[in-house]
Symmetry: C2
């Protein structure tokens, strides 16, 4: 699915229980209709030089930028973000309209 | 689509013609069957603090880790990587089996 993407890559603090964060995220995306799809993963290649310590990627898809804006301003997101920000050591956010070059069949 | 993901986020060097890179990437994914889907985007939010200078995200999907391994070892990828690596100022790679929490409908 193309649409507008919200990509978050993080390195969590050492004492963080990632499962708790994931549970919160699952609840979040189930509560907010504007989130059309959500997938995540934990790096398994462990190329430390090229991962720069980042371990997890989270990718949400919205129909368009308006959907993303609605998500960002949603009270559940605001609340979740406050918790999330205390759990992370490093973060990079990228938000972009997705260009699909080769589509899954 | 779930599968195995290869996520690349980069900041290009200033004198790089991104369109040339993209053309090369499009050619690459069209040549390698193991790449099941490919999408990319350029950050438009420009939250410099949280983007850390990264501007582009590239996301490829493979059926499984074997597909990814085939891609990495493919001569076209090896050739492309050599060019790509001269164009980048910063890069983060994450490779992971994707967990789909909410699927696009």
């Amino acid at each position: 699915m193309a649409g507008f993407k919200h990509l978050v890559i993080v390195k969590f603090k050492e004492d963080v229980v990632v499962e708790d964060i994931l549970n919160g995220m699952q609840k979040l995306v189930s509560e907010i209709d504007a989130v059309k799809s959500f997938e995540w993963g934990q790096d398994i290649e462990g190329e430390e030089m090229l991962g720069q310590g980042f371990t997890h990627a989270f990718l949400m898809t919205f129909e368009d930028k308006q959907g993303y804006t609605a998500f960002v301003g949603h009270p559940c997101h605001v609340e979740f973000s406050a918790t999330f920000s205390t759990a992370i050591d490093k973060i990079v956010l990228l938000d972009f309209p997705s260009v699909v070059v080769k589509a899954a069949t």
